[in-house]
């Protein structure tokens, strides 16, 4: 395991160094072809390193344009110019803007020079620093401070890489990929977040490693997500260190196959400063790890020390504050596996509910591990080594290690669904043209049959016309221009239209 970790770290350093090196060479605004690793390539390398194979990082480098943003310039303007495959390289300086990436395969790469970072400053006014919806987005080397909402938030982007960012006091969440598949969140430092510093929300196949989270309400939260590994992180001085939840009322209803291993989860005794009514406002301060309703969670080889309420709480929905019911979500944590961990000095000042359990169990010792509510088929190794409450029915785990699962990152990047409808022209015709044109019937515009007669064999003529239509006929309203469609799209739809037969 340690060797593999070194491998990941070495590649990470190589990547970071490459970015820095590129920046040193590169000034000015002209796009220049420079090798920069894409999100996809970085993911592939991370996966290869995690599985013990020798990831060839040279293959991971691709040619793309680099758009350099200097202090005083707009990052968003550069993102606007960038095309899929390009890199936006942000030089040290202070940037006061909200950026958003609604295209695929863009790398947003900060350059750190002599300890000076490119800093996005929300000044307590702006909502988010980086929003992305595209696939294959990589965000790296940014310092983000003073936003109200998130530092970095993804909405449905797959194959994301968020690494080596330094995030402080950015409101509700620090790093929040949502509804994405196949992502890497590593080597980030986050503090001062009023909910989860790193929040994996409704995602699949995510690797969270080598991050430091301190002084937040929740350090790392895995919510309504599957196939997530949280390893080699430091979570300290949060109200709750690491959480794996099913939150009810969300459109994705499950959390399972989560591995929490090799983390330092130490002294998470911060006051809970979450907003009233938020789910994490119910996190009892002084808690190392909470498993709520999540299934098939492995907790292994962590140092869980000095968390005054409890080291590890396993709870169902009914046992947790602020939870509204969801008949479509299973409220019980099943098949939780507590493997060997280093528990010490937890439960020295437990909450009232745990004190009541201690009373019932006739013990004065606060727990390292406490389970409340329902759930079945959970297990533990070496129960005698730690203080526990409520896990009497836990049997001995059959497995002693999760080493067989090196990573849940995908072997191949999550790809767009293979189209059942492969014809771009047909899609455009049905999606746009059919609102005004039918084959042999007058709607808003003339029947397709008449257009076919006029433009027989001349698809390009139609493609040109629809880009900037002139009013042709007194008996029809003018057609709205379709110039926003690319030339390829216009030609494809024109070709399709000429072949429509009913």
């Amino acid at each position: 395991m340690n060797l593999r970790m070194l491998g990941v770290a070495a590649i990470a350093l190589l990547m970071a160094g490459l970015g820095w090196f590129v920046a040193q060479r590169q000034t000015g605004e002209a796009p220049v072809a420079v090798p920069v690793a894409s999100a996809g390539a970085t993911l592939a390398a991370a996966r290869a390193a995690g599985s013990g194979a020798s990831g060839n990082t040279l293959d991971a480098v691709r040619q793309g344009k680099v758009w350099v943003v200097q202090d005083g310039e707009s990052i968003q303007a550069a993102i606007g110019r960038a095309q899929p495959g390009d890199t936006v390289q942000v030089m040290p300086g202070t940037y006061r803007e909200t950026t958003y990436i609604d295209k695929d395969d863009i790398t947003l790469l900060g350059v750190i020079q002599g300890g000076s970072w490119p800093t996005l400053d929300g000044e307590g006014q702006r909502n988010d620093a980086v929003l992305y919806s595209g696939n294959g987005i990589r965000v790296e080397n940014l310092k983000v401070i003073g936003y109200k909402g998130n530092a970095i938030m993804g909405q449905a982007g797959n194959n994301f890489v968020i690494r080596h960012n330094w995030i402080a006091n950015t409101g509700v969440y620090g790093i929040f990929p949502e509804l994405g598949q196949n992502g890497l969140v590593e080597h980030n430092i986050l503090t001062g977040i009023e909910d989860a510093a790193i929040y994996i929300g409704m995602c699949d196949n995510v690797h969270v490693a080598h991050n430091e989270v301190y002084g937040n309400v929740a350090g790392i939260e895995v919510e309504n997500s599957r196939h997530v590994i949280v390893e080699n992180n430091v979570a300290t001085d949060n109200a709750g260190g690491i959480l794996a939840f099913i939150t009810p009322g969300l459109p994705i209803k499950t959390t399972f196959d989560v591995i929490i291993r090799n983390n330092f989860i130490v002294a998470n005794n911060h006051r809970n400063f979450a907003a009233v009514g938020s789910i994490v406002s119910g996190v009892p301060p002084g808690t190392g790890v909470i498993i709520m309703a999540a299934d098939d969670v492995i907790i292994e080889n962590n140092v869980i020390r000095g968390n005054r309420n409890a080291g590890l709480i396993i709870a169902d929905h009914a046992s947790f504050a602020n939870i509204t019911p969801d008949p479509e979500a299973d409220p019980y944590p099943d098949r939780v596996q507590i493997l060997r961990n280093f528990f010490a000095d937890n439960g020295t000042d437990p909450m009232k509910e745990i004190q009541a359990l201690m009373l019932t169990a006739l013990t004065r010792q606060g727990p390292d591990v406490v389970a409340v509510g329902g759930g079945h088929d959970s297990c533990a190794i070496d129960k005698g080594a730690f203080k526990w409450l409520g896990i009497k029915d836990y049997g001995t785990c059959r497995r002693s290690s999760s080493a067989d699962v090196a990573t849940y990152l995908l072997a191949q990047p999550a790809a767009p669904r293979k189209l059942e409808i492969t014809d771009k022209g047909k899609l455009l015709y049905a999606g746009i043209c059919a609102g005004c044109h039918a084959y042999n019937q007058r709607l808003i515009g003339p029947p397709v049959r008449e257009i076919q007669a006029l433009y027989a064999g001349n698809a390009q003529g139609i493609a040109d016309f629809i880009a900037n239509p002139a009013k042709k006929r007194d008996d029809f309203p003018p057609m709205p221009p379709q110039g926003h469609l690319s030339a390829d799209q216009r030609l494809a739809v024109a070709q399709y239209l000429l072949g429509v037969q009913k």
Binding site: D102, M153, A156, F176, P251, S278, L419, K426, C436, R449
Partner: protein
Amino acid sequence: MGMPTGRAVRRNAAGPRARSGTGGGRLVAAACCGAATALNVCAVLLAMAFGAAAQGAAPPQPAPFELATQCAAGFVLREGVCRLHSAYQQYTSLQGAGVGGLKAGLPALRDGYTPQQIDLGRYLFFDPVLSRNGRIACASCHDPGHGFSDARPRSVGVAGGETARHAPGLWNVGFLHRLFRDGRARTLEEQVQGPLYGAREMGNTPEGLVQRLSAIPAYRRLFGASFADARDGIRSEHVYRALAAFESSLIALNSRYDLYAQGVADALSPAELEGLNVFRSFVARCTECHTPPLFTNQQLAVIGTPEPPGHPFDAGAQAAGSDARLRGGFKVPGLRNVALTAPYEHSGGFTRLRDAVAFYNLGRGHAVPPGERLSIHWQISEPHLSEREIDRLVDFLGALTDESFKPQRPAAVPSGLPPG
């Protein structure tokens, strides 16, 4: 080109700025035939049956009703049934849930109906014969001119009294797996029975419905042409299915927002883009529940909007059988064409869209009546948005408007009653 063909269909002069969304053959009103006489007789009989004169009962030009043979706009005929074709079908969504960001796949649509079933549903939707006294059609409260919603805060039923809630818009309703504002129905077929038989809505009975429709020769023919097993007689299930077919054809996925989502960078104005970024930020948090591409995550949520003055508290999902912690909970509505569906919220408490948006900025639970203890949804926070940001949100919501596939209101319906 330029010469109208002999088969060109007469434009419906009475209709709105009409787009015959459901393809060809819908308004084939060109020629009269023998059925016209029967139709007029039928209309008179119906008017007598309802004990009320259907004003100007005879349509201007009685027509033999024929059903479309082509699918609604946006659909393509495959193996005899209509299948949606949308650019969103080229994307996936996490766990197939149909929620996500800009390029996320749709939830499953209730498609697979025949063109005839969809078109029969259109006639039924606009035909007041479905109500107890022949005065109200589905379209009376789900008006295509108002985003298939109602300009009244609360709709008015057959007896002239108000219903309890504001009529929800119907665009994209075929994607939903929870129906009614309190989410109590799971299918469109189950849902339509609520208004059809509700005493405060259309006030009909299954027997009354079937009896009236069966008395109309044109309907007997059209049902027979739409459902093989209706040739032996119309059943209420046929009515539900035809209405479900029509409602499932109401697709709005072609707004300027959609163009932006598909990669047309300048499809949104700078103000709308700014609004999009407020909408999806974790400060306003709109997108957490109003999740693209349908702008709903289809969950129940307790947000605590106020009732209009003088109206009792509406327990919503709790009254529909959910847990007490969902007291005052309602289904998250989709926001497509929301600019057209004023007034807003479950009981029409907000006249303007901006008021509905500003509600979320006025403090968590600020409108909860004294004595009520509601479990307000965790995403309802204190976002402290600026007035400018609220304006931009309204701008963005306007970019979700798309009526390009709006179906045409029929000039006449088989009952001979004035179309709703």
